[in-house]
Amino acid sequence: MKFIRPFRCMTAQKILRLSFIIIIPFALLSCGETDTAINQEPEKIEFIIPSNFPAPVYNISRNPITTDGFILGRTLFYDGILSRDGTISCGTCHQQSAAFAHAAHDLSHGIDDKLTLRNTPALHNLAWQKEFFWDGGVGDLDLFAINPIQAHNEMDETLPNVLNKLRQSAKYPPLFKKAFGSDSITLERFLKALSQFQLMCISSNSRFDKYQRGEASLTAEEMQGKTLFDNKCTSCHKGTFFTDLSYRNNGLTIRNKADSGRAKITLNSDHLYQFKVPSLRNITETAPYMHDGRFSSLEKVLDHYDKGVKDSPTLDPLLRQGTILGIPLTAEEKRLIIVFLATLKDDTFLRNRLLSQQ
């Protein structure tokens, strides 16, 4: 299969400047390639930095992405073997069509239909994330998957059991051998393979990306929405990923006192009810919204910022301008902002067969 480099504007110099291997991720779907191309396994899976992205946080040289490592990671991601009774895989709650969030679920349910505490976050561009979970409790992508595997209301399995099940399976020892050179199944290899798949979940071909790279233009309404967004939202939802990666209390009423957010990690009362500012990429596909999925639509989210913000000692100062709480928005402004947010939808990513369960 002929592989197509998605980022034509990347110059040779730019490639050389990057300190690690330049790798090529996706068969392009959006430009009308034939289905035969996307149904085949790639000759080579590679990690490439989109030209409008900064350098990643994840140190790829520690875990070089290979085609076989990626395939192993993808197989694990979609395999219920990671859960106690075989029913729950990563892909159960992280659904590609919802940008790897959990469509139509405020709180996700794991094993035995047990409810979780929070809304499933979307997974994309994880190589550029420095901390994981709504509270940022884990600072290394490789260590992230341990929590959902062991959580009693998610997969409820132990690491020794998972590894033993993989060792005893017919399927996995050869996959590990292909990926890592021997069929030894260790925690390090297991987690690194999962990371390889997750690192390849790169969303960089939205209309907004193409606008940023000078490959496409936005409509007049989208540009109006962008201007409003830039004026009212980018203090927190900033940059290429539409997040400053900080933790903030955005004035939601407290529905579950037990979920203290960032304070759970820092034990600092100044951080009570702070949650990570999420990326807005593919935001039209990841409803419902907020850490507990309380808002079913983007309209409701903007209504919250307009009129719903509740004061509290840890309310983010940006949401308190004198006596005014929140971000006043007219109905037309909200409409235009949502028009702009729709340009962050990346069909290439949402429908990339390489990232799907095979």
Partner: protein
């Protein structure tokens, strides 16, 4: 610990026998001067005790608050070990090989054997209770042996905040007025990745008194360290299980850590020959 206790008695008999045969050698001759180009081994034995008694699971003891309790789980990390010679030279065990989980339920784990130690007369041992902050943020490939979360470290890791549990003790007490009268101490906290939080990393320095541990290529001293678990409940702050039976990732966990940091004491060192242990 009864087994260990018996083995001590047995060992003492052997040593006494050896002494009776070779008393002139043992008593009058100091070991040869250390040759620092050679290496030997040393064993740190962590002997859990309860005051003057041997410690054993499910046996009832009384804490400083007068509460009776029994224990079912006791394990803690010992790491970043260094040894100091009588002349003040510090030997630090290479970091990758310096993490040990002492687990009362695994008899072999209470003897921490260190190899490739330069010959020397060591008078002091230093170590960390827990896992240092640098290692606590290291990537997965640097978490081997005692730190492997799928192996020895499987019950000693908080996956939601990437932190090791430094010290774990569980049991029950009739003083706890709840349906289940269990107590749980899961103490950790390395200071935080990007935002500061509790730091329960504690370091211990133990002097071996007047008899140094004489590491030689043919002598592997055994340093006998007592860990008095009653000290977990008192010292810095008296712990009343009736008031709070659960100390995990919380500000109050600092009280437990500040207590147990003083639970270790040097008891004695075996330098003599019969080092079959």
């Amino acid at each position: 610990m009864k087994q260990v206790f018996l083995s001590y008695t047995f060992r003492a008999l052997i040593v006494a026998t050896v002494f009776s045969f070779f008393s002139s050698c043992s008593d009058d001759h100091a070991p040869t001067a250390p040759d620092t180009t050679k290496t030997g081994a040393i064993v740190l034995e962590f002997d859990n005790v309860a005051g003057d008694d041997e410690f054993t699971f499910n046996k009832e003891y009384t804490n400083a608050a007068g509460e009776k309790f029994t224990t079912t789980i006791l394990k803690y990390y010992i790491s970043n070990i260094s040894l100091v010679t009588t002349s003040g030279t510090v030997y630090t065990v290479p970091q990758d090989n310096s993490y040990f989980l002492v687990d009362e339920s695994v008899p072999t784990s209470t003897k921490v054997k260190l190899s490739n130690i330069p010959e020397g007369d060591y008078k002091e041992v230093r170590y960390t209770i827990g896992v240092d902050s640098v290692r606590s943020t290291m990537p997965i490939e640097k978490r081997q042996g005692a730190l492997d979360m799928s192996g020895q470290g499987k019950d000693m890791y908080w996956d939601w905040n990437s932190g090791y549990i430094f010290f774990k003790m569980e049991g029950s007490s009739p003083a706890i007025n709840e349906v289940e009268n269990n107590f749980r101490f899961h103490i950790g906290g390395f200071g935080g990745y990007s935002a500061q939080t509790i730091n329960n990393i504690k370091t211990v320095t133990l002097s071996m008194g007047t008899t140094p541990a004489t590491v030689r290529s043919d002598i592997a001293p055994e340093v006998h360290i007592l860990a008095d678990i009653l000290r977990v409940f008192s010292g810095n702050k008296t712990i009343e299980l009736a008031k709070n039976p659960s100390y995990m990732f919380s500000r109050s966990s600092v009280d437990i850590a500040n207590n147990y940091m003083n639970m270790f004491s040097f008891d004695h060192v075996h330098n003599d020959a019969a080092h079959s242990h």
